[in-house]
């Protein structure tokens, strides 16, 4: 042994000596220093591997672990998986191995993708995957490789797919150049596939030449549609309690292949179907030039190229039609808001290029031919370009013999649209050319105008805080609510005009002769004149009823509106102005009359239509569901409207049926999350009881008040006389009552109700000081003697903090008349300090003042924006939401002018997941002890939130006639 060890040391020394020299000199060196041939041969055999040693054992152990511990069994060939006889391996991908297989029951060849067995160990992930697979299986299109379903056998899950023979587009591009015509033919099919999938709300996210199969007959089939998302959705790391955190950290996730990734995917921003349009542009570019649009030596070079560089446009073949160059330019816009967002448009553009064989002639000055399909599409939209429309029909896949399909005339992304407030906050001009919506602009709401032939919405000057908007009958003006007042504005511009003060409204209609009918919050329908002056109450709601969202019928003599009764489902109702008669028609929300003779309305998650005769005011035939992909906002309003005969609605994307509904979630400071066992619903404004063991919450659409007991898991509606809370509920310090603003006998006011639901709700104070009944944010003083709230001081134009005294002579006083809008007061447990948010600096910030001597001092607690302060930990801490929507905590000390001190705000890891920007309604709460947080989360399994898509549907009246033939 001794000798062997010595020999080994000799070899070692010789090796190191040789390795210290350049490779070419090693042989000579060894020969000179090592006369022993055998020894030298050993050394030479060792150092011969030197060139490969660098890469040897360089794999990270995690990769080995992935292969050894996770990798799907790679030797499946010849085995049976249920009824599938597994054939040869076709390929390997990041998501699993793909085999050819024979379905012995259906007697067809299929491709199966075997997923790693680790899937099987997590039933949650498997269930999610199976659900995604079902959605994908519903995608049936000649240019999409069909997913047949998922098979599970023991630990193995296999996705069963259509077997596509042929070569991948990547191979095709590599083999020989693709002619411009072939490239366009393939691209057209890919665009068609994308269009069909996007229609179903399915985004590919990993479109690339390797995912496109081209058969011998030139049919293109897109593979792996939606799989990136399906796998992603199913592959959240760790147990479910951390997934909310993980997801909030990675809103979009990087799931594409580097070279075809859109900039927003790289930057981890939310990704929607526009990433597919980007990838589509990359693929088309690559087909035409045989080079990737974005490339680089390393993957980080590729990413830099995508983020910062333009593709090399000069490499496009000279014969590339101008329409295609324009299309590529539109697809490869780095800002998704500027990017083409419709595969249908891409298809039309390609069609235009394809039916112009003399594409070289483009640029000859033939203006008609040079017109882009963008313009053409808007012509189609407005029913003017009949000739162009015919062209699209012939070129498109619709044949003239088919029943006309409704055309999604336009599909806009309106990311800023407000869906958090009750009501519907977008309107379409008659004819559908212009959309106005109330959306977020920084931390406030503002009205935006988006014309369909322009890309970006523009804020309308002078409309900050605007909502509940509606068009005049001629489409030239809009009416809207702003700061609880009725305003009008002309679309051509000019300063908005205030029509009437103190008129908070929920929807309005502007008929001929300047008559405006509004649903006045808390007091029925009112008619006013657009030029001001006279106003007249049309309907007087019954106890607890609300009359909202009016629409004037064409002759201007009747108003269609929604009645939210004291009990039962919302009703579509009609009010006859002449006779003053009001009739209930049927169950539904947000009814709109169309000139085709239909009423469209929302009911139980769907949009319905029923034939309606405006003369007799009678419906005929049964109502038919017409859309089931309309989003219902959290407060319970179906998000649709009409303009002329154009239907506009917020389109639900993806498969989740519960979009818009919320679940109530508890979290601790470590980020552990627990979803309370309450059914998904339209919850708003949760508030912990003083002991932190119950919570009061509003449940829409009726805005009933419920109390949920966290210890017993029981929920009770405060049912004595059907409490309808307009404001957030505030607990009295003894935990026995809940204070809120509500409706009393035709007036609104502050009232309370026993928290166990016993007894009626009692009015405390009524008054016109409440400008916005929904945003009074009451907070009860620790001694129960008064309520601090947001309201309108006499003579003030913006909200201030008010004090409503509940003892002796009940009255309301101005507590604090600040220079900005003050909201969300919170009183410290000592009763000697108040926290609130004010926008006096230009954006909301949290401040603290002594109480009751509020003028003595102000301390600004937040910086960088802040709202919704809550005192916790016995008054030793203030928690608030910062300008980015995160929860922050500030430690505080002392409770009067001389002793109060506070720390720097520190962010907490609370996976709060809500629109943060309104500074209006606090949809979260913290226990007085500060240990548990309560908030609302969309009930969508934490799927990444796509942009809000507003679909405008053009010729759907044909569909209406087909569905509800009684009208003809």
């Amino acid at each position: 042994m001794r000798g062997e060890t010595d020999r080994w040391h000799q070899i070692e020394e010789l090796c190191h000596a040789a390795l210290a020299r350049p490779e070419m000199e090693r042989g000579a060196l060894l020969r000179s220093i090592c006369p022993d041939d055998e020894l030298r041969a050993d050394v030479e055999a060792l150092i011969a591997n030197d060139a490969r040693a660098e890469a040897f054992l360089a794999q990270p152990i995690s990769a080995i672990a992935a292969q050894v511990m996770l990798e799907c069994d790679s030797v499946w060939t010849g085995r049976m998986l249920n009824a599938l006889e597994v054939g040869p391996l076709l390929g390997k991908g990041g998501m699993g191995h793909v085999y050819k297989a024979r379905d012995t029951e259906l007697h067809r060849d299929v491709a199966i993708k075997l997923l790693a067995p680790e899937f099987a160990h997590d039933s949650d992930r498997l269930a999610r995957f199976a659900r995604e697979a079902r959605v994908l299986a519903a995608l049936n299109h000649p240019n999409i490789a069909q997913i047949h379903g998922a098979e599970k056998c023991g630990d193995t899950t296999a996705l069963v797919m259509e077997l596509v023979e042929g070569e991948t587009l990547a191979a095709r591009i590599g083999r020989r150049p693709v002619s411009v015509n072939d490239a366009l033919g393939i691209a057209r099919q890919v665009a068609d596939a994308l269009e069909a999938a996007h229609d179903q709300g399915i985004v590919h996210r990993d479109l690339k030449p390797a995912n496109i199969m081209v058969r011998g007959d030139r049919t293109a089939k897109v593979l792996d549609f939606g799989l990136a998302k399906a796998i992603h959705a199913a592959a959240d790391p760790g147990p479910s309690q951390t997934s909310a955190l993980a997801l909030s950290a990675v809103p979009g996730g990087i799931w594409g292949t580097a070279a075809y990734m859109a900039p927003e995917q790289i930057e981890l921003n939310a990704a929607d179907r526009r990433v597919d349009l980007w990838a589509f542009g990359c693929v088309l570019f690559e087909m035409l030039t045989r080079r990737p649009a974005f490339s680089g030596e390393t993957s980080s070079d590729v990413l830099v190229s995508i983020l910062e560089h333009e593709p090399r446009w000069e490499t496009l073949p000279a014969t590339t039609p101008a329409t295609i160059r324009r299309l590529l330019d539109r697809c490869l816009q780095k800002n998704p808001k500027r990017r083409l967002d419709s595969a249908a448009v891409a298809r039309l553009e390609i069609d235009e290029a394809l039916i112009q064989p003399g594409s070289i002639r483009v640029g000859s000055g033939d203006r008609r031919r040079r017109r882009s399909m963008w313009q053409a599409l808007s012509w189609v939209t407005f029913g003017v370009g009949v000739a162009m429309f015919g062209l699209a029909m012939i070129a498109g896949r619709a044949s003239l013999t088919e029943a006309p399909r409704p055309i999604v005339a336009a599909s806009l992304f309106v990311d800023d649209l407000s869906l958090a407030q009750p009501g519907v906050h977008f309107a379409v001009a008659p004819g559908g050319r212009t959309v106005i919506f109330s959306g977020r602009h920084g931390r406030t709401l503002v009205l935006f105008r988006r014309d369909l032939d322009r890309l970006d919405p523009e804020p309308i000057a002078g409309t900050i805080g605007g909502s509940d908007l509606f068009f005049s009958d001629d489409g030239s003006s809009i009416g809207f609510e702003m700061r609880s007042e009725l305003w009008t504005a002309r679309l051509e511009g000019g300063t908005p005009q205030r029509v009437l003060p103190n008129l908070p409204l929920r929807g309005g209609a502007w008929g001929p002769n300047g008559t405006i009918v509004i649903g006045r919050v808390g007091s029925g329908l009112w008619a006013v004149n657009a030029s001001g002056g006279e106003r007249r109450q049309l309907t007087v709601p019954g106890q607890g009823e609300r009359h909202e969202m009016p629409q004037l019928l064409p002759r201007g003599d009747a108003v269609l509106f929604t009645m939210f009764p004291l009990s039962g489902a919302p009703q579509v109702a009609i009010h006859l102005i002449e006779t003053g008669e009001t009739r209930r028609l049927f169950e539904g929300i947000g009814a709109r009359f169309l000139e085709t003779g239909h009423i469209v309305f929302g009911r139980q998650g769907k949009l319905w239509a029923v034939a309606f005769d405006p003369e007799t005011l009678q419906t005929s035939g049964a109502a038919q569901p017409v859309r089931d992909d309309v989003v219902w906002s959290a407060p319970g309003y179906p998000q649709f409207t009409t303009g002329g005969n154009v239907l506009a609605y917020v389109r639900r994307r993806g498969a989740s049926a519960s979009i818009g509904k919320k679940v109530v979630v508890l979290a601790d400071r470590k980020g552990n999350v627990q979803v309370l066992p309450l059914p998904p619903g339209n919850y708003l404004l949760p508030r912990f009881s003083p002991e932190g063991n119950r919570l009061a919450i509003q449940a829409g659409p009726a805005r009933e008040l419920w109390v949920y007991d966290l210890r017993h898991g029981t929920a009770n509606r405060l049912a004595a006389d059907r409490v309808i809370a307009y404001s957030a509920p505030a607990w009295t310090p003894d935990g026995r009552r809940i204070v809120f603003t509500t409706w009393f006998d035709g007036d609104v006011g502050l009232g309370w109700q026993s928290a166990d639901g016993s007894g009626p709700s009692e009015p405390l104070l009524r008054g016109a000081w409440m400008r916005s009944f929904e945003r009074t944010h009451p907070a009860v003083l620790p001694d129960g003697s008064a309520v601090i709230m947001t309201g309108l001081a006499p003579g003030a134009t913006e909200e201030d903090l008010l004090l409503a005294r509940l003892k002796e002579d009940r009255r309301v006083e101005t507590l604090f008349h600040g220079p900005g809008v003050e909201r969300n007061p919170a009183i410290a447990p000592s009763g000697r300090l108040i926290a609130y948010n004010s926008d006096e600096s230009g954006r909301p910030e949290v401040s603290v003042r002594p109480f009751p001597d509020v003028a003595a001092r102000r301390w600004q607690i937040s910086n960088g924006g802040g709202a919704f302060p809550v005192w916790t930990r016995g008054g030793r801490e203030i928690v608030y939401q910062d300008g980015q929507g995160r929860i922050r905590a500030v430690a505080v000390r002392g409770d009067d002018v001389t002793t109060f001190e506070f720390s720097k705000p520190e962010p907490l890891t609370i996976p709060l997941n809500q629109d943060c920007c309104s500074a209006l309604d606090r949809d979260f709460d913290v226990t007085p002890a500060g240990d548990r947080f309560l908030f609302l989360r969309d009930d969508d399994d934490g799927a990444d939130r796509p942009s809000i898509e507003l679909a405008l549907i053009q010729n759907w009246t044909e569909e209406l006639k087909r569905l509800t033939p009684e009208s003809q």
Partner: protein, 189 residues
């Protein structure tokens, strides 16, 4: 209990003479490896070309509670963890290889380059055997490979654990790889 605290506790117990602690460590190491593997797969999907060696360091931060283990002990424990990782991975590979071929030891042909991709379980078993052979010739070099490859330890950490200089570890690492390559080549013929 956080994995790091648990692992540290077991390591300390084992160091104090409790042999059962080592067995108790295996499932924890296994869980950690699974987590690593899943993390690797998740990142792998996003970008096939990015190397993810950093993951291993992450694993160690998680495996060993730095506050309760002195620096000297830390490298010692890292070395033990490396051995445990090797053992867990090799056990897995062995089980899979047996399942796949009914235990007949039939060899799957190798790819041209010595990567572990074509038949990772078999390659890992080969590597394990070769490492044992190396240990018979030069135990320290085998330990360097174990620490560097299975344990993701840095040169400095391995040097600390083995009480040799960093240069020695570097030389050992280089020569060990040459030796293993030749050994694995030999099996191929």
């Amino acid at each position: 209990m956080p994995a790091a605290a648990r692992v540290t506790e077991l390591l300390l117990a084992w160091n104090g003479g409790d042999d059962a602690a080592l067995e108790a460590l295996l499932p924890l190491v296994e869980a950690e490896l699974r987590r690593l593997a899943r993390g690797y797969m998740a990142r792998e999907r996003r970008d096939h070309t990015l190397q993810t060696t950093a993951l291993v360091n992450e694993a160690y931060l998680r495996l060993v509670d730095a506050q309760r283990v002195s620096w000297k002990d830390r490298t010692h424990f890292l070395g033990i963890a490396a051995r445990l990782m090797r053992r867990v991975l090799v056990d897995h590979a062995r089980t899979r290889a047996v399942q796949k071929r009914g235990g007949d030891g039939l060899r799957v042909p190798f790819d041209e380059d010595i990567s572990l991709s074509p038949a990772p379980d078999v390659r890992l078993l080969e590597l394990d055997r070769a490492l044992d052979a190396l240990a018979a010739v030069d135990d320290r070099k085998a330990r360097v490979v174990e620490m560097r490859f299975f344990g993701g330890m840095t040169v400095e950490e391995a040097a600390e654990a083995l009480r040799v200089s960093g240069d020695t570890v570097k030389r050992d690492w280089r020569l060990a790889k040459l030796w293993l390559l030749r050994e694995l080549e030999g099996h191929r013929l």
